[in-house]
């Protein structure tokens, strides 16, 4: 995506955490942006200033629609109303919840795999062939090689979430090979920062507001996890699309070159809030079934094209906490 070339981008899930941050950036760069979101987890608040910005009036369009059911024809309408067509799809709409997959096993299949198929088919029907996709480090399961590179061992899946994203990746790859799409697949670690709406900081902060003297931690607290700041994540995505090769399929791990323990994160949060809660642990090296005790991605591929995160994991944790402190409404939005 060369910055001097303006495109019409479709961002699915554009009212979500990562989506809305991407939308802002694309509009700042001068691109035309259409968003489709079903607002099941996305929030209108995240697009409020964008919708109110007079400079964006002619370049920004928001559609409320469901990407799963064939009865909902909103996606086709986005293409129909695009005049010169959609140049690029950022497919971010997803069920992003890893932990509760086992409570509703069909949700990941539907929202992540089948929805991705529907988006690819709409693109094919309408002659749009460039797509970026938000995948996850969870596709590696419990990797044997850590830090884990993009071409690590054939994975054994441990979660319905990881499986559903792996399946979506596969569909995108097969469309790239079979129908000449060009694709950019990003395997994220957990993303932190402004508009963060679920995850451990969210949970811990919410618990500490209720009871500042006690904090229960899932597992033994020694799980090693990786995080990336949202601004760094968006930078990496845009840089990869601009600088990647002409390969049909381009896969990138996105993370920082460090990891931390859940206990480290708890320490930073409590220190920043000036709290000293008594910590209790549910025990075990996994916080829940399918929890991965060690996630750390080898990001040398994205480094080679020039991306370096500006913020450390600790920075990202603090920035997220500050955001939640200033936007307490988010804590009750779900």
């Amino acid at each position: 995506m060369q910055s001097h070339q303006h495109m019409h981008c479709l961002v699915t899930g554009g009212a979500g955490f990562i989506g809305s941050n991407l939308v802002d950036r694309l509009l700042e760069m001068g691109h035309k942006v259409s968003v489709i979101d079903d607002f099941s987890t996305g929030l209108m608040d995240f697009l409020k200033s964008t919708l109110e910005n007079a400079d964006y009036k002619s370049r920004f369009k928001l559609y409320r629609g469901d990407l799963l059911t064939e009865q909902d024809t909103t996606l086709q309408r986005v293409f129909d109303e695009s005049k010169n067509g959609i140049d690029f799809v950022f497919h971010l709409a997803a069920n992003a919840d890893v932990r509760f997959g086992l409570d509703h096993p069909k949700k990941d299949l539907e929202q992540n795999t089948i929805v991705t198929f529907n988006v690819l088919e709409a693109m094919r029907r309408n002659g749009c062939r460039r797509i970026a996709f938000s995948s996850t480090g969870s596709v590696y399961g419990e990797a044997k090689v850590i830090p884990t590179p993009e071409d690590a061992h054939f994975p054994i899946q441990t979660s319905l979430y990881g499986t559903s994203k792996l399946a979506a990746e596969g569909l995108i790859m097969a469309y790239s090979e079979g129908y000449n799409f060009q694709s950019y697949i990003f395997r994220f670690v957990s993303i932190l920062g402004e508009r963060y709406t679920h995850g451990h900081i969210f949970d811990f902060y919410k618990k500490l507001l209720v009871d500042p003297y006690h904090l229960e931690i899932l597992g033994d607290g020694k799980q090693k996890k990786s995080y990336l700041y949202i601004g760094d994540c968006i930078d990496a995505i845009l840089m990869a699309i601009e600088k990647a090769t002409d390969d049909k399929v381009n896969v990138f791990n996105l993370g920082t070159d460090e990891y931390c323990q859940v206990n480290d994160s708890v320490g930073w949060i409590c220190e920043h809030l000036g709290l000293k809660p008594k910590l209790t642990y549910t025990g075990g090296e996994r916080g829940w079934i399918g929890d991965n005790p060690f996630i750390f991605l080898d990001c040398s591929k994205i480094r080679k094209i020039g991306h370096q995160p500006k913020y450390s994991i600790k920075d990202a944790v603090i920035k997220t906490l500050e955001y939640l402190k200033n936007n307490k409404g988010i804590l009750n939005a779900r």
Copy 2:
């Protein structure tokens, strides 16, 4: 599956090529067998002698049903009517056609991925937790390491078929981890032998019956492919289930320790039929988009537990040809 212990097995796709051969073997071993098949590619002929066998009357039950739509409740009926429950599911129902995936992109997703999900959910609902699954060497895409071991590099998918099977594998793995299933995933090369109903021998023989003096070959004929005889395939599946570890997920490549070129196979076929057709080639190292020019699996894992194929690729090709010669009706069955 210890041979002294009789089980009630459900074979999905039990009227198909591999399914019906497995059904025969399971019944010979003394197991109780229920089959569900939609007869979209399966043939009643394949189960005819089994249905007519008086010894099997009390142990064999055939259901015609569709595993995709929720409106069809046949699968639940199989469990309801099983008295003491189903002990083991051999999930073989699938769209097994690799080549025409791009003509109807939804078919692989529906028949291979979503159907597998439906089978897993029915198992979970009914407390059945052991499953064997017919996957494919196509999940490796165009592998970087050949012969390709089970833990080869993270694959880049090149076909909708491979993708749909990879997704099904992932679901089975996630159910194994999340709901305590035990699973046996078999990545097949192409299977040959009695009741073979599609593939290159089928196509070549059919063409040669029409015109014995001319044969058109897709690609340059130098594609290197692997094959396994159906009897050896069934042996391997049953041996793996009997001897594999207690691991939740057991993945095995199934093939011979050799490969051949398409041209070799053409030579054996023509020699066996006493024909010398003029060969023409469509050209290119791939016969069609997504065709893998070199498939050769490392089968040392299944060898270690004692499985050795009895037939060579050439034997399997000749046996298949003999079967087709004696069952010409098959050639027009689809």
